[in-house]
């Protein structure tokens, strides 16, 4: 396992260095901040803002996955544990240049069973973000803290959208955020189920 996770790290580094178009991080952070503020003004309800951010992220994720697959040329992951490694070491690295720490909730016995059986629903991993490019320069006002705003909730949507396109229905949510005074920023990704491939409808 150690070697493969090292390999993913190398792949992520390589994509970030040679195959990612870079943009100004400050412009990115400020644009995202402006977007969140606009949503807050429009909806005047923090729960609704969280929902909208998640939805936006979902739509981003459904397209981002194609970009990811085309650039990384990775094969299908054998189990959900590997998914966590790839998301953190290749996905986050190649798009945001950060590598969250992955904590797997259920250590899977490494068997050669097919993926659908090797992952009982409920497997999950936690991504701990040491730094968050979206939240650069951000300080949440008292009101937003009380309202329960998850400032970077767009990330949850991206994860859900991207993984759904590769036949995994997941639930992604923030557990804690340094912006709220927590010690770390954590996103939990829980596998709900593997989606079946669609078959054509019989017409005769």
């Amino acid at each position: 396992m150690a070697t493969t996770s090292k390999q993913y790290k190398a792949i992520g580094d390589d994509i970030w260095k040679s195959r990612t178009e870079k943009i100004n991080a400050e412009l990115f952070a400020l644009t995202y901040g402006a977007l969140v503020v606009q949503l807050i003004q429009d909806y005047e309800d923090y729960a609704e803002v969280n929902k909208q951010l998640e939805k936006m992220g979902y739509n981003i994720g459904t397209r981002l996955i194609e970009d990811f697959l085309a650039r990384s040329a990775l094969g299908r992951c054998a189990d959900f544990r590997e998914v966590g490694e790839v998301v953190a070491k290749v996905g986050f690295k190649s798009f945001l240049n950060i590598t969250p720490t992955v904590t797997h909730s259920q250590p899977q016995p490494s068997g050669s069973r097919p993926p659908s059986q090797a992952n009982p629903t409920g497997s999950s991993f936690i991504l701990t973000l040491d730094e968050n490019p979206l939240a650069e320069f951000v300080e949440l006002p008292e009101e937003a803290l009380e309202g329960g705003l998850w400032f970077s909730n767009v990330l949850c949507g991206v994860l859900r959208g991207a993984l759904e396109m590769v036949q995994m229905q997941v639930q992604a949510e923030f557990l804690s955020d340094v912006l709220k005074g927590d010690e770390s920023t954590q996103i939990q990704v829980r596998l709900l189920k593997y989606l079946e491939e669609e078959v054509p409808v019989g017409d005769d």
Partner: protein
């Protein structure tokens, strides 16, 4: 050595794009409702009895972008008591009024279903025999070779070529990495995964065309 045609299927098993090059027989236009709009102008059901442009190849692909405008919606209801012209199904009318020079006997929607059926069955058969996640890449008959590239997100790129060509999987991958990414995935006007529209647009078609025509296997 030559390349005949390209099909792209999405993860809902529907054909979202079609393009052909050295194909001797064009498929008949699909019947109404048989395929999504914006797949290919050439095989989209014609709203009116075939006119002067039936013989030539398709006109500006831009036309396909507007296919959800009033014109198409109107012909989607051929049963409605409209002008007498629309009483018979348009597909019939067209072939009788002005048969295009050479089309195969099959309507495009039927053809697309058959192509999808064959790759799905072969792939499942291969997986079942080997018991592993084995990839099916191409098969060959006496007259053509079918190449398949399937992305993890469920898009299937299918290309038909001369039976003697080498594997064209790299070409399909190039189409995915290049034009598909640039002009479909990153194009906000293309609604992906919509189940209602294809992905045809002018830039994608032009760039795919350029890519394929630039290949050494292309005469």
């Amino acid at each position: 050595m030559t390349i005949y045609s390209l099909y792209i299927f999405d993860r809902h098993c529907t054909c979202v794009y079609y393009q052909d090059w050295h194909r001797t027989k064009r498929p008949k236009p699909a019947v109404e409702g048989g395929i999504l709009p914006a797949v290919s102008h050439a095989i989209t059901p014609q709203p009116l009895p075939a006119d002067s442009n039936a013989g030539s190849t398709f006109t500006s692909p831009r036309n396909t972008l507007t296919s959800t405008s009033g014109v198409v919606i109107a012909v989607n209801e051929p049963i409605s008591p409209g002008p007498g012209l629309y009483q018979t199904p348009p597909s019939h009318q067209q072939t009788q009024a002005n048969p295009p020079p050479s089309t195969s006997g099959l309507a495009f929607d039927e053809e697309a279903k058959l192509v999808y059926g064959v790759i799905l069955s072969l792939r499942n058969m291969i997986k079942r025999i080997s018991g592993r996640d084995e990839q099916f890449t191409n098969y060959r008959t006496s007259t053509y070779k079918l190449h398949l590239y399937e992305t993890l997100s469920g898009y299937k790129f299918v290309m038909l070529s001369d039976p003697n060509t080498d594997s064209l999987r790299f070409v399909l991958r190039q189409i995915y990495n290049g034009p598909f990414l640039d002009f479909v995935v990153r194009n906000p006007l293309v609604i992906m995964d919509s189940k209602e529209r294809g992905i045809d647009n002018e830039y994608f078609r032009a760039n795919t065309d350029r890519l394929v025509k630039g290949l050494s296997v292309f005469p």
